[in-house]
């Protein structure tokens, strides 16, 4: 018996409306752990080479991890993956909330969705009873409105993931929303659901799942919670959640401001954690079994309309707030609501709108292209107007809906230099110009410029920002640890934010699964998965490799203009040297592809045939 797993794989084909339930393969468990690992293997094996990300051939894979849904702090992450419309390569996004635990309670460790429904549909998973229901009444509705309607129609005890109008219109950075404010935000997984006419996925599970040593898990789990409660950050960090970091990021000059023009925002105190807590916060809202709830449920009013929103989180504050020069936390919260309800990722959404505003400022996008509107930074009306145009794919919104890479390629006139992305995925909320590890992490992140895989800004500051030695190695280390948590199905915040030791997870791992794998073994699995996602992108994108690991020119051509690190940047030569070192340490060739030797070492022999 597989302990820690629901034990089953659910396969749906929306084209012929077939539903199959299969036992989970022990081989998959052995080499790919769960979560992101399962997603990576399924996409590699089952997405036909050259598939259109928004076509019938693309595959959606959804997977909680072996530690999801059991008794330890924050066992609540589920991975949604597909070939990404934003990058054309491997895509996944990790979501919190209660969806992971519920899927496991229904007996599923992996859901694979293929084909395309003729009409809008809702996938309902009620233990073994799986239905593809008519979704027309929800089509066109907002993400959270849809969730509310489905809770009323199906039952409050269903856990529901939805897309908004932006997903329906296949905006490249459309997200999946769950639990009224948790998202699988990145890489356009919401657009892929939209392309398949899936408005929502609802799950309810009553079965639970076996764990190897229940008494041992209770005891170890209690020790883990006690250890979390004892951390100073437990009391200090939780009231502000991720917004707590605004002050520090700004102090070190890494707070993205005005489309990453600079890293310092004078008005940061108006949008920091304290502002959030004091002016819009109403409730600390947690994911499943989380003792440090970072969800800050809020209330915001704009032009007489009162809205509820979970957030804003740090990333939203950075990309929607400082990056668009919106200097009022209530306005940021309102913008957060607008993006959430439309189903747009706030990280890419904030980036794309900031890019558009800079293009407008520079005359690259003309007034005619924006219906004569006077759109500008710092103006919530402008922000909302652009967001709605993007979600509807109307006028200039249709171009912007394809992300900054495609938009800049079409607009030209030097806009490529300030199209802030890597591989087609817009950059997260840390200005990396004078932070080599942070920038290298963005450049080499498998899905494009996402902070989730290796968050190195604190490391850059701690060891010295100008320093290069050891940074490539550190990025690789982080790129194995953090994605491993996404394989296990657990949240990284206890570790990152309040210093909860990773050893705890290694200790509870055998009690949940009965497996004798060590943490080092699991890290090796994580390295295998990292190489597999790299190989997926190499297989799907012509010329993929070093040319796709490059940051926007703004990051190496322009000095940081203001703030504590004004006058600094990292040169292109330094970046090239770091990238070269990174490839060597990874066992990749000079073009940035895994060598045959490396692939065989990682038991990826099946990849060798595809790449060589």
């Amino acid at each position: 018996m597989l302990y820690g797993y629901g034990g089953h794989v659910l396969r749906l084909n929306l084209s012929d409306r077939s539903v199959k339930i299969e036992p989970l393969s022990e081989e998959l468990v052995r080499d790919y752990v769960g979560g992101r690992g399962f997603v990576a293997k399924v996409l590699y094996d089952e997405v036909p080479r050259g598939a259109d990300p928004l076509g019938e051939e693309n595959v959606v894979a959804i997977a909680p991890g072996p530690l999801s849904g059991t008794f330890l702090p924050c066992p609540n992450k589920v991975a949604f993956g597909a070939k990404s419309p934003a990058t054309g390569g491997y895509g996944d996004s990790i979501m919190g909330g209660h969806f992971a635990a519920e899927l496991k309670h229904a007996g599923f460790d992996l859901v694979v969705i293929k084909g395309r429904s003729e009409e809008p549909c809702v996938i309902v998973i009620d233990d073994d009873e799986v239905r593809i229901e008519d979704g027309k009444k929800y089509w066109g509705k907002g993400s959270m409105q849809t969730e509310k309607m489905l809770k009323e129609d199906l039952g409050e005890d269903f856990q529901i993931a939805t897309i908004g109008p932006a997903g329906e219109k296949m905006v490249y950075f459309a997200c999946i929303t769950h639990d009224f404010g948790r998202q699988a935000g990145r890489t356009g997984v919401g657009a892929v659901l939209g392309s398949k006419n899936i408005k929502a996925i609802a799950v309810r599970g009553s079965k639970g799942f076996p764990i190897y040593d229940p008494e041992g898990v209770i005891k170890k789990g209690q020790e883990m919670y006690d250890a979390v409660f004892a951390k100073p950050g437990f009391e200090k960090w939780t009231p502000y959640g991720t917004a707590d970091i605004v002050n520090w990021v700004n102090e070190v000059g890494s707070f993205p401001t005005k489309n990453f023009w600079t890293g310092y925002y004078e008005e940061y105190k108006k949008i920091n954690g304290v502002a959030l807590r004091e002016s819009v916060w109403t409730l600390d809202k947690g994911c499943f079994a989380c003792p440090i709830p970072c969800g800050k449920y809020s209330k915001a009013t704009f032009r007489g309309k009162e809205v509820r929103v979970e957030g804003p989180e740090y990333e939203t504050i950075a990309l929607v707030g400082s990056n668009c020069l919106i200097d009022d936390i209530e306005e940021v919260a309102y913008a957060n609501y607008v993006l959430d309800e439309l189903g747009l990722d706030t990280i890419s959404g904030g980036n794309v709108i900031a890019f558009a505003l800079e293009c407008i400022e520079k005359g690259i996008i003309t007034k005619d292209q924006v219906e004569g509107k006077d759109l500008k930074f710092g103006d919530l009306e402008s922000f909302v107007w652009l967001a709605e145009k993007i979600a509807a794919r109307e006028g200039i919104g249709d171009l912007l809906a394809q992300g900054v890479k495609t938009a800049a390629a079409k607009l030209g006139q030097g806009s490529e230099k300030f199209a802030i992305h890597v591989k087609g995925l817009e950059v997260s909320g840390y200005e990396p110009r004078y932070a080599p590890a942070t920038l290298l992490a963005y450049m080499t992140c498998d899905v494009g410029a996402h902070h989730n895989r290796a968050w190195a800004i604190t490391y850059d500051v701690a060891v010295g920002r100008e320093k290069k030695e050891g940074k490539a190695a550190k990025v690789i280390e982080l790129q194995h640890v953090r994605p491993l948590l996404d394989c296990l199905g657990i949240c990284r915040f206890p570790w990152i934010e309040i210093g909860f030791e990773l050893d705890w997870y290694a200790e509870i791992w055998p009690l949940v699964t009965g497996q004798d794998k060590t943490w080092e073994d699991l890290l090796k699995d994580s390295e295998r998965i990292w190489n597999l996602t790299r190989a997926f992108s190499a297989r799907e994108i012509e010329g993929f490799g070093i040319d796709y690991d490059q940051p926007p020119a703004r990051f190496y051509e322009e000095d940081v203009p203001t703030g504590p690190i004004a006058g600094n940047r990292i040169t292109k030569e330094t970046l090239d040297a770091l990238l070269k070192e990174y490839y060597e340490l990874r066992g990749w060739d000079e073009k940035g592809l895994p060598t045959e030797e490396k692939l065989r070492e990682l038991k990826l022999d099946f990849v060798v045939e595809d790449l060589y």
Binding site: G69, F180, S206, G208, P214, A289
Partner: protein, 127 residues
Amino acid sequence: MQLVARDELCSGCRTCELLCALSKLKENNYKKAAIRIRGQFPDPGRYFVVVCDQCGVCAEVCPEGCIEEVDGAYRIDKERCTGCGECVEACPSDAMFTHPSRTAPIKCDACGECVAYCSRKVLAIQE
């Protein structure tokens, strides 16, 4: 003796549900818990804790007489319970829970196992 809750502080994490079933039944299945967290979102945007307040109505309506107060909490004699559902219907708090794999309903006996691991300090045992 009863489990009491300050609902307005609840973050909805449901650690209580998970630990309840795990400690009572040694099963990783929160659907067998004797406590439930219900959310109301997006408005008003808060959670409600559904749990037995030991009012005793279940004992009054049980046709088998198999619910009795022992050590300050009402307990179901699972051997004698027929699963008729009278108590579930009658419970004024909707706190008698059922599970497809079990004949007897599941109710809180105020053991307090969940209290220490409620990070928002929502739960407490009141003597």
